[in-house]
């Protein structure tokens, strides 16, 4: 069982690496954001597996947090790419 | 166990926060803050007597025995510094309250000064090295905001440098704490001292102490004073006065505390400090004549003073330490006065360069004579407050045979004298160029804080005997066992 878990850990890590490659190489900004988002998602899985490996519940919060933050960051960066100004002061219309 | 120790920090914080809600009533803000600081000053006097009769006071927060909790420790040295800090603050606040209203008052000036005070006093009192870092940050954050307060674009530029350099110094501090914790496994300063002593001055700990030397040198402006002149000379009068009087002293205090209590063995560190103090004296003396901007001249005088104090530390015998304590107390008042005076001069003439002003003595005699007093006081000329400190430090240097430092100290006094006399002779003497119509009025109330400070520096010079017992008690810094016993010797 441990072996399988370790394999999946490694696989997730590989995925993260690939995403990292995307972040560094680009070429466009959205590419990077996509990759970042993917890192977030993979991280969630990674932490989940890790909790099993360590036999602890201590990291279950981390999972949700990563999810939340990945989402917020993605929204934020997307906004930035789209408009430059990410928090608007007045109504759009 | 004395809960009142924490009032020094809690009361300014609470009042500061409450004042945030009264942004629109500057009168209330000013008098409330002055009232609070004055009350704390009274408390400080009371505690000073307590310390005198009962020895070092301490307060374990949450009742956790050291070394596990955080605690405040008040010895005479820290209380003296606190009292001086409070007094200087009172006067600076009075200066603001009695001046025409400034826009920055509306931007939380008073709360920030109170927070600044809380941070400074916390640094003087805390007995925990990490808490020292946190108190530093309280002080620094307040100073970051204060330094930008005033709406002058130069302030922003200099603040940028000030903030980044301080971030780096805070980083060094954390690195130091990490190393220290990694090696001795504790954070309580007395406990650290005990363990460091046990380790028998391991080379590693000496190396770690260098990190702290870097940190506090940055904060105190010892050799690494590059951030100081620019930032101190760009801020509004009262901010410069507060900074010039109070901020570097916290670094000096930390150097004193750490290098008398914890890393007090061996000759290497005193040698380093001595070299750095010497270079600081030289650099400050060179800088003090390099500029025609009176604010810069004053700022480099701060540098010289720091060099002098640390020269005292590096000499390190009782006489020198006592002298340095005298000198620190003196310097806080005198520097506040100097910066207030310079700010007032700029306010009156709207000029900052010495060759643009002339003959102010005729227009504003009291201002001129107060300036003269501060010149003498800073140059260490009797009977003003700078004399006793200088005297004792020089004597300490003689006893120790530190002749180079002695010569530098004397030469730097001359540099102080010359650089400030240049201002006096150019700006206050000479033909009066401001005509009676152009002359800006200088109300008596505005001069009052200055005169009070001048009075203090004279009184401190003449009344050395009143302060002397406390200073002598404060010099027990040299015997760390008192401190360690007071902290770790049970409740």
């Amino acid at each position: 069982m441990m072996l399988v878990l370790t394999i999946s850990l490694v696989l997730f890590t590989c995925a993260i690496f690939v995403a990292l490659y995307r972040i560094i190489v680009g070429p466009s900004m959205p590419d990077r954001v996509v990759a970042l988002d993917m890192i977030g998602v993979n991280l969630i899985s990674l932490v989940a597996v890790f909790s099993i490996v360590l036999h602890t519940h201590a990291y279950l919060e981390v999972i949700l947090i990563v999810g939340i933050l990945a989402f917020i960051s993605t929204v934020g960066i997307a906004r930035f790419i789209e408009r430059g100004e990410i928090v608007e002061h007045e109504h759009d219309d | 166990m004395s809960n009142s120790l924490v009032f020094f920090m809690v009361i300014p914080i609470v009042v500061g926060i409450i004042l945030i809600f009264f942004r629109e009533s500057p009168k209330l803000q000013s008098w409330a803050s002055i009232g609070v600081v004055t009350a704390l000053f009274g408390l400080g006097l009371y505690l000073l007597q307590e310390v005198r009769t009962q020895g070092i006071l301490r307060l374990d927060f949450g009742g956790w025995e050291p070394p596990f909790g955080i605690l405040f420790v008040a010895d005479t040295f820290s209380l003296l510094l606190i009292l001086t800090t409070l007094l200087v603050t009172i006067i600076c606040l009075l200066y603001v309250a009695l001046s025409p209203r400034d826009r920055m008052i509306n931007y939380y000036f008073y709360p920030l000064v109170l927070f600044l005070n809380a941070g400074i006093i916390g640094s003087y009192l805390t007995g925990d090295i990490f808490n020292l870092f946190v108190c530093f940050e309280v002080m620094l954050l307040s100073s970051y905001v204060l330094i930008t307060l005033g709406g002058n674009r130069i302030q922003l530029r200099e603040a940028m440098k000030y903030v980044t350099i301080n971030i780096v110094s805070s980083w060094f501090f954390l690195v130091g704490i990490a190393f220290l914790y990694g090696s001795v496994g504790t954070l309580n300063m007395a406990h650290i001292a005990q363990r460091v002593a046990e380790s028998g001055s391991d080379p590693l700990l000496t190396v770690v102490s260098i990190v702290f030397l870097t940190v506090f040198s940055l904060k105190a402006g010892l050799l690494l004073y590059v951030w100081l002149p620019g930032s101190y000379s760009s801020t509004p009068t009262v901010t410069s006065a507060l900074f010039g009087a109070l901020l570097t002293k916290v670094g000096v205090y930390a150097l004193f505390r750490v290098f008398t209590l914890i890393f007090n063995e061996g000759t290497l560190l005193p040698t380093f400090i001595a070299i750095m103090a010497g270079l600081t004296l030289i650099g400050g003396s060179l800088g003090a004549v390099a500029y025609t901007d009176i604010r810069k001249i004053a700022a480099y005088n701060v540098v010289i003073a720091v060099g002098f104090m640390l020269a005292g530390l590096s000499i390190g015998n009782t006489l020198a330490i006592e002298g340095t304590i005298f000198y620190i107390l003196h310097d806080m008042f005198a520097k506040a006065l100097l910066f207030l005076l310079i700010g007032t001069m700029i306010f009156l003439t709207n000029k900052v360069h010495i060759h643009e002003m002339s003959g102010l003595l005729k227009n504003y005699p009291t201002l001129g004579w107060t300036f003269f007093i501060v010149v003498l006081s800073l140059a260490g000329i009797p009977p003003f407050s700078g004399f006793m400190g200088k005297l004792l430090v020089i004597e300490g240097a003689l006893e120790n045979g530190s002749y180079v430092l002695l010569a530098l100290a004397i030469a730097s006094s001359l540099a102080v004298l010359y650089s400030l006399l240049r201002i006096f002779s150019q700006c206050f003497w000479g033909e009066t160029i401001i005509s009676a119509e152009e002359q800006r009025p200088l109300p008596v109330m505005r001069l009052l804080p200055l005169v009070v400070l001048a009075g203090i520096t004279l009184a401190l010079g003449l009344g050395v005997e009143v302060v002397a017992p406390y200073v002598q008690a404060a010099a027990s810094l040299l015997d760390p066992s008192t401190y360690i016993n007071a902290v770790l010797g049970g409740t």
């Binding site: 919060e61 928090v87 007045e90 | 809690v10 609470v14 409450i18 927060f61």
Partner: protein, 145 residues
């Protein structure tokens, strides 16, 4: 350019609710599991940030009429006063108490004064983080005008 954000806006409403619940959970459970005032506050703040990202400042402030600056001030006040309170009954500054009580519904529950302290911290964190982001966005408007 007008941007139609219907999908985002709709989803965010739900998501923010989840985040807020989660943040309160984090705050309350901090004493025994990871979490506590700071993290709870930060997560709550991030919920607000998400709101600001999706909607605009005015809409949000109409919906949540809170002055975040005052909120942070109140937060610090709460934490400092809860720290100071023990002084009045003769205990050292910052003494925290905790006890176990049998409450009607919850059964045996631990109540600790530290919760008040942490609540102050959480409020501070939320107030400050939101306040910073609001200040900046406000600044931009003035500048551009």
């Amino acid at each position: 350019m007008k941007i139609n954000d219907v999908i985002l806006k709709t989803v965010v409403k739900g998501v923010v609710l989840i985040i807020l619940t989660f943040s309160i959970y984090l705050f309350l459970s901090g004493h025994h599991t990871p979490g506590g005032g700071f993290i709870g506050g930060l997560v709550m703040a991030s919920a607000f940030v998400l709101l600001f990202l999706t909607y605009d400042v005015e809409t949000v402030s109409e919906g949540i009429p809170i002055s975040f600056k005052k909120m942070s001030a109140v937060g610090v006040l709460i934490s400092v006063s809860s720290a100071t309170a023990p002084i009045f009954w003769g205990e050292p500054f910052l003494s925290q108490n905790f006890g176990y009580f049998d409450l009607p519904i919850f059964g045996k529950t631990e109540l600790a004064t530290v919760t008040i302290f942490e609540a102050g911290i959480a409020l501070t964190v939320v107030g400050v983080v939101v306040n910073i982001i609001l200040s900046i966005s406000e600044g931009s408007n003035k500048w551009k005008a």
